[in-house]
Amino acid sequence: MELSSIRQNFPILGQKINACDLVYLDNAATTQKPIAVINALSDYYSHNNANIHRGVHTLSRRATDLFEQARKTTAQHFGVANEQQIVFTSGTTDSINMVAQGLSKLYLKPGDEIILSMLEHHSNILPWQLWAEENGGHLKVIPLLADHSLDYSAFEKLISPKTKLIAITHVSNTLGLVTDVEKIKSVANRHNIPWLLDGAQSAPHMPVNLSVLNPDFFVCSAHKMYGPTGCGILYLNERWLSELPIAKTGGGTIKTVSFEKTEYVEGALRFEPGTPNIADVIAFAEALKYMDAIGMQQIFKHESELVQYAQTLMKEIPEIDMYGIHDHKAGVISFNVKNQHPFDVGTLLDKYGIALRTGHHCTQPLMKHLGVQGTIRISFAIYNSKQEIDYFIEKLKKVIKMLS
């Protein structure tokens, strides 16, 4: 697919902001949506809307088929043979909480340890911290090397007989650095420790084959993958699909209910109490099909080129400090303008139609490690272009001048 034709699939990109063309570089926060996804929502509500499972009428059957087909599409996208291992949630944060709440019921014990990294997003810190505080658990943190990548040898030394889980981001949302999953996996497997991979920032940018990576848990958000807000997935391996205790319960998850005793169903539905986010799950499947039509390898290649291109140009601006410069990154660059507050830079660039994010990016521990209050972050998607980066660089230089 040609880049220009890709852009035309995204209605929002035609917009003017402050009389300038919108240059949307805030994709790590959320991506824009192709018309196929937007239409999937209208189509669903205009033709097929009904509550699912248990319904005997035509609309209900149609909606159920679309929903369960979406589960299959998602499983296929991630190379998962048994689609029951795909649980639909309301997003990455929700998924991680479900795992944390579930594990803390039977599996995690007082004194146990969980290993995280210095790169984690708050959503992959706070649920574990809550467990630790309430149950006398401990969080161990993989430190960073000088280039801000994970210190894998320090990681291995953190393992102890009390280590019960490794929960790690696949891609840093602030720096774009890609975790060496094979290293994590081999250590986890050697010590027989379950591990969770936070794929919020990898799933949008690169091929992710879960039957190859084979984590115990994998989580991601539809809204960062060209899909709608309010939808995400929790992948569980076969073990946890049957063993993870449920923390959230309600209609639709049961075989029989009485006030004395309830018998739960097996499979994904066990973890999907209540009316699911039917429309958004169906629209999410359209987003996955859209990405697959372009090809995840192609997406990664395109975005890597943008990162290289931008990094090279930015290195030449003396007023800039970049964090986590690397060849192998997933669509994200973080930087600061010396002596300037990110907020000022972001506010002025917005005036030129450039949307980017400033602040701590929900990674305060990493900010502290970098010794900054916040950074300026640009992040790419398939519809971004080198021309946009040129424009960004031009305006960035201008803004630096305005501020100094």
Partner: protein, 140 residues
Amino acid sequence: MATMGIEEIEKEIIEEFDFFGDDWESKYEHLIELGKSLPLIAAADKTDDKIIQGCQSRVWLNADFDDNGMVYTADSDAIITKGMIALLVRVLSHQNPTDIIRANLSFIDKIGLKEHLSPTRANGLLSMVNQMKKEALKRL
């Protein structure tokens, strides 16, 4: 063995239903009749362990094997499901296990009742077909 093979019986059923053309009401009336005429499953076989739980209508299946091939008896608490069961039993009973396992039962589609075999249908029929095949597999 049955005097007719699976596909032959399927063909017979398709012709039977073709008679009603687009008149789904008559088609369903026929299905209901079939359901009512389904030989009862032995009470002893209608036990909880033989139940196939659809969300709504329940299906009981009993499978045996004799010189003539598989012998299925089945029941449901919903009459339309029972009519479907009658068709399935008619097609698969007294057939040999290999044929049963291979059967794709396309007649269900052709007589316009495919929806009843949908995996998301609440009536347990698809599970019944799978169970029928599983039982046949045991007798290979």
